[in-house]
């Protein structure tokens, strides 16, 4: 079989533009390589994760005592506003776009995203957003202090009277972030629809790609609604129109509809790719196919649809009529079904497998267990009477931090560890990784579990001071918060030192199925020598089937062990 030599189609390969640097400097250029952009996204957003985390630790410092004695109340309000905004717009969204950017073209066998230059422009807006957010600390009157919801009328109130104030900068930052996200979404959707390699039918497409598609479709239908609301809010603040200003006849509740129509589905924009990563990581480290792959893949799209119909559950205590409360209670509860399908599928995937507790596997398993808990408290919150008691309390804060930190951040860590050898060609240090996992898991529980009882007792969220009865839970949560801060240190140490001098491990250290593992580590520009021709579905563990029809494999010369044997059988 080796003596047949067919001329491979000649590939024009090279740098994105002539003279582009091929070393670390490329990460500081306007590179159009999706892999460079992916890493740019991940590293930039991690930097802002540290900033957002610092803000949260100052907040936990304030809350370790009942009185408002560490920072002024206005400062506290600015802290939680900017903590939320930075964590969402500068960390969770961009880091997941980064992972998607890196992985989607590799997983579907494309050479790049559909619009590489647009991709680069989308990325370079992110630092601009970050600078605007941080700059708002320096303007007179300080940054926005109305929470990341920016609910009017509080967000319209402007104590300094300046046109250039924290709230206006905040809206500008969110608007730029929105433009960047829409451009990114157009890019992802086009790439996934049109750039899948020959043979990669929809039901051969990895679950991660499905979940990214689901998430990006939400961006496309949801973000414009928020943009509409933000434009009206900006006009209210600057020009003095009356859309949401009650003293001028406006309706502040309408803003809440605009806001949540996007911002609830936005949670699924963040959790869906993480679900996708769980679905990729579990089969690799349990050596079993993803259980119920088709249903898990399709349930991502189901979530995309249902998530557009649930937003009013954030407004059960607003002036919402009863029929709306009941209707949206039912739709919100329905989200449990696609989520449940995924969780059950994951448990069945590891069941009877050959599980190895690598760091990515630990983070994925930890993330799933946290998600299970957060999903159940989510059903509590969907129930109208329960929500009437606990909404806007620390119960909600505990719930969504279990989602965001417990499931999403842990999932992001899982993804970074899992694909670290692919991105760098080197292996991270397992010991540091496990230490990181232990600290993160304990820190999450210690920080966010105590928030639930505090909320049930009636502690409102966003308070700078609170009654003595809540002190116990808050001290625990503060200690946990500092532990979480500490937990990032082994991660940073691990990433930096492994990238510089970690052990070189070849192209497929996990013996994983998937197109991204067929190419070199790190993949060359344009990813594949020749485009792979996919001949079977993903997750072929234990099945003795080749994934691609090309020989030699489309990446480089090295075969993954598990594929070599079966391919020589086959051919």
């Amino acid at each position: 079989m080796t003596n047949i030599s067919l001329e491979a189609p000649e590939v024009v390969r090279g740098q994105p533009y002539p003279g582009a640097p091929d070393n670390w400097k490329r990460f500081f250029t306007f590179s159009t390589d999706h892999k460079v952009i992916g890493i740019q996204y991940i590293v930039t957003s991690f930097f802002f994760f540290l900033i957002g985390g610092t803000l949260s630790m100052i907040m936990r410092g304030e809350l370790i005592t009942p009185d408002a004695d560490l920072v002024d109340r206005t400062v506290y309000n600015a802290l939680f506003t900017m903590h939320g905004s930075i964590m969402l717009f500068m960390w969770t969204f961009p880091v997941l776009v980064g992972l998607g950017n890196y992985l989607v073209p590799l997983m579907i066998g494309a050479r790049d995203m559909a619009f590489p230059r647009l991709n680069a422009v989308s990325f370079w807006m992110v630092p601009v957003v970050g600078v605007l957010m941080l700059a708002s600390f320096l303007v007179p009157g300080g940054p926005s202090q109305s929470g990341w919801w920016a609910y009017p009328p509080v967000s319209i109130q402007n104590p300094t009277g300046n046109l250039l104030n924290g709230q206006v900068l905040w809206i500008l930052a969110v608007a730029i972030s929105g433009v960047s996200s829409i451009m990114g979404a157009v890019n992802f959707v086009t790439t996934i629809f049109r750039m899948r390699t020959p043979g990669m039918t929809w039901f051969r497409t990895p679950a991660f790609v499905w979940s990214v598609l689901g998430a990006q479709l939400i961006q496309l239908y949801g973000l414009p609604a928020l943009t509409g609301g933000a434009v009206m809010l900006l006009l209210d603040i600057t020009i003095g129109t009356s859309f949401f200003a009650p003293e001028r006849g406006g309706n502040p509740i309408l803003y809440q509809h605009f806001f949540w129509f996007y911002s609830h589905p936005a949670v699924y924009v963040m959790i869906l790719p993480v679900f996708g990563m769980f679905s990729e990581i579990l089969p690799v480290h349990a050596r079993k196919p993803l259980f119920g792959y088709r249903v898990i893949a399709a349930s991502s799209i189901l979530i995309t649809v249902v998530s557009g119909l649930v937003w009013v559950h954030h407004m059960f205590a607003s002036a919402t009529p009863s029929w709306m409360r009941i209707l949206f209670m039912v739709t919100s509860m329905l989200v449990a079904i696609p989520s449940g399908i995924k969780v059950f599928g994951w448990v069945a995937t590891i069941w009877g497998g050959k599980i190895r507790f690598t760091t990515p596997m630990l983070f994925a398993l930890g993330g799933i267990s946290n998600w299970l808990f957060a999903g159940i408290t989510g059903i509590f919150l969907a129930s109208v009477p329960i929500d009437i008691h606990v909404n806007n309390t620390y119960f909600v804060v505990g719930h969504f931090h279990y989602v965001l930190y417990g499931a999403i951040v842990m999932g992001i860590y899982a993804g970074i560890y899992h694909w670290f050898p692919k991105m760098t060609g080197r292996m991270y240090y397992e010991g540091l990784g496990k230490l990181h996992f232990a600290l993160t898991y304990l820190g999450t529980a210690l920080t966010f579990l105590p928030m639930h009882p505090a909320g049930l007792m009636g502690m409102p969220r966003r308070v700078a001071s609170y009654d003595l009865e809540f002190a116990y839970w808050n001290v625990l949560a503060s200690l946990g918060g500092f532990l979480l801060g500490l937990s990032t240190l082994p991660f940073i140490l691990n990433m930096v030192s492994s990238w510089i001098r970690g052990e070189k491990v070849g192209n497929n250290p996990w013996r994983a199925y998937g197109l991204e593992w067929l190419t070199s580590s790190p993949p060359t520009v344009e990813n594949f020598e020749e485009l792979p021709l996919v001949v079977s579905g993903p997750y072929g563990y234990g099945r003795n089937q080749p994934l691609v029809g090309n020989t030699p494999n489309p990446g480089l010369t090295e075969f993954p062990e598990s594929l070599t044997a079966m391919q020589s059988d086959e051919l």
């Binding site: 890019n187 020959p198 414009p224 609604a225 009206m232 309706n251 129509f261 485009l531």
Partner: protein, 202 residues
């Protein structure tokens, strides 16, 4: 096995050929996705308009009872017919008749310009401003945001007109013109909804 490989490479080569030369197809797909997304902004403004109108029985500024519909109707007719004009321009381009394309594109631009002018005249004659209550705010928001899109459309058309004088501009297809035309139809459809909401439903 050899046959399989040959076929696979064959298929692969064709599809890759197709893929790498179908950048224009990608662009068109992406542009349509973008327009669908953009329409949601308008949709949210329309929703806002409907909510305000139905929940506030007297939302006109004092002294205002309704809007004059005659001039806006003429404006509407001009804008809507310009959609057909730009279609004709596109047909000429398909047939490689560049001058026909340029003339009809210019006509589209003139009609768009007329629409904007009519809009400006209407704005200046109205007795209320942006800050006059919910109706004033909504009216100027909707017409203004749409007007910005019309302006963008005209600028795109200007660009396309200019580029038509570059020789060899259409060697790789004319996605730019298609997108401009698509955008113009989009702006028209939005206007029809907008006109119905603001002027017809009073």
């Amino acid at each position: 096995m050899t046959a399989e490989r040959v076929i696979s490479q064959d298929v692969e080569a064709t599809v890759r050929q197709h893929q790498e030369h179908d950048a224009a197809g990608n662009s068109k797909f992406g542009f349509i996705v973008f327009l669908l997304s953009e329409s949601v902004i308008f949709l949210s403004f329309f929703t806002g308009y409907i909510v305000y109108k139905t929940t506030n029985p007297d939302w006109y500024p004092p002294g205002v009872t309704g809007l004059e519909t005659r001039e806006p109707l003429i404006n509407t007719l001009v804008l809507v017919s310009s959609s057909f004009v730009i279609y004709v321009a596109e047909r000429y381009l398909h047939d490689k008749k560049l001058w026909g394309f340029r003339i009809f594109l210019l006509a589209t631009m003139a009609m768009g310009g007329y629409f904007l002018l009519g809009q400006a005249v209407e704005w200046s004659s109205l007795p209320f401003g942006f800050k006059d209550g919910l109706f004033g705010g909504m009216f100027y928001l909707l017409t203004g945001f749409h007007g910005l899109h019309v302006l963008t459309g005209i600028l795109l058309q200007t660009l396309m007109l200019g580029r038509s004088f570059i020789s060899g501009n259409y060697d790789n297809g004319f996605f730019g013109v298609e997108a401009t035309s698509l955008f113009w139809h989009f702006v028209d459809v939005i206007w029809i909804v907008l006109y119905t909401l603001i002027y017809v439903w009073q």
